[in-house]
Amino acid sequence: MNKKFLIPLGLFAALVVFLAVGLTRDPREIPSPLVGKPAPDFSLPVLAGDKPFSPADMNGKVWLFNVWATWCVACREEHPLLVEFSKNSKVPVVGLSYKEIQPQDMANGPMKDAEKLQLARERSLRFLQRQGNPYSLSVLDLDGRVGIDYGVYGVPETYLIDKQGVIRYKRVGPLTPQILQDTLLPLIQKWEAS
């Protein structure tokens, strides 16, 4: 029997497989070039306290760096999980409050930097008081400059940084219990041990 008719069928099946695999992939998930590189340095004011924070302060510790904002809906979704994590884990979570002051906040005219800082502090602290505070401390990145250095393009984002200050993992979008269990916790264990 001539099986030639199977050729187009086979080609079609291959195409279907490619398209099916393509559908399961998230186009928003872009591999970060920062994984395996030292965490970019910065010095930013913290939410509560006068002393600015810089990543070097965490040397010798494995820590999570979580980008968030009170205006970010997905962050609210993620928040309870972070609070839970911070209760059960010794790994410190540092927050980066990303562009807390949005253009709509300045509808009544431009604000001075000090005013922005104050409003951002008030709003963020109120949020953390209500929703629980998973952060050992949170820094304020009002103009988003540090966010650019970390390649932030969708809040929330989470970075795992090792004892030497090297980024080992980056998650764009909210953490889920599954990602925490299957990816983040094993990685934390691995880098804690090293």
């Binding site: 872009i30 970060s32 920062l34 390649g151 969708g154």
Partner: protein
């Protein structure tokens, strides 16, 4: 009444003036910004270039690129700055390197394969037609000569 309309229009201009974005601060910088940003992808709205996107991140990134232009950085340096942070994905024209070879040369390879396939098919068909015609051994006679 005409002057009132004129006045209203004039006031409209005055009111709008405050809103104008600081685009033309330095036309030379803006011109270079547009050229560079056309080649860069906005990460928030992925099918828009950095030049045309209204996303807030795009605005922030344009601000950074402007700053780099003022610092007299070359186009390549500016692109490297963004690739270091956001990956190759920001480039609309990906760099040619082993990882992107399939992307750059794959289509030509497929074209070659298709040409080879077509050539093979045509040759097989010609042979088949010849084989079909041969067993009958019909002499080819030019009938026109007889008429």
């Amino acid at each position: 009444m005409k002057w009132m309309l004129g006045f209203a229009m004039l006031m409209a201009c005055v009111v709008r003036a405050g809103d104008a974005p600081p685009m033309a601060e330095d036309p030379q910088v803006e011109a270079r910004l547009v050229v560079i940003a056309e080649e860069l992808r906005c990460l928030v709205c992925q099918n828009e270039s950095l030049a045309s996107s209204h996303a807030e991140l795009a605005e922030d990134l344009r601000r950074e690129v402007r700053k780099l232009i003022r610092e007299d950085k070359s186009d390549a340096e500016i692109k490297t700055y963004l690739v270091d942070r956001y990956g190759d994905f920001v480039l609309y024209r990906p760099q040619v390197k082993p990882l992107t070879w399939p992307l750059w040369f794959g289509p030509f390879l497929m074209l070659l394969l298709a040409v080879w396939g077509l050539w093979r098919y045509l040759r097989l068909r010609k042979n088949a037609l010849l084989a079909q015609a041969e067993p009958q051994h019909e002499p080819i006679v030019d009938t026109r000569a007889k008429d």
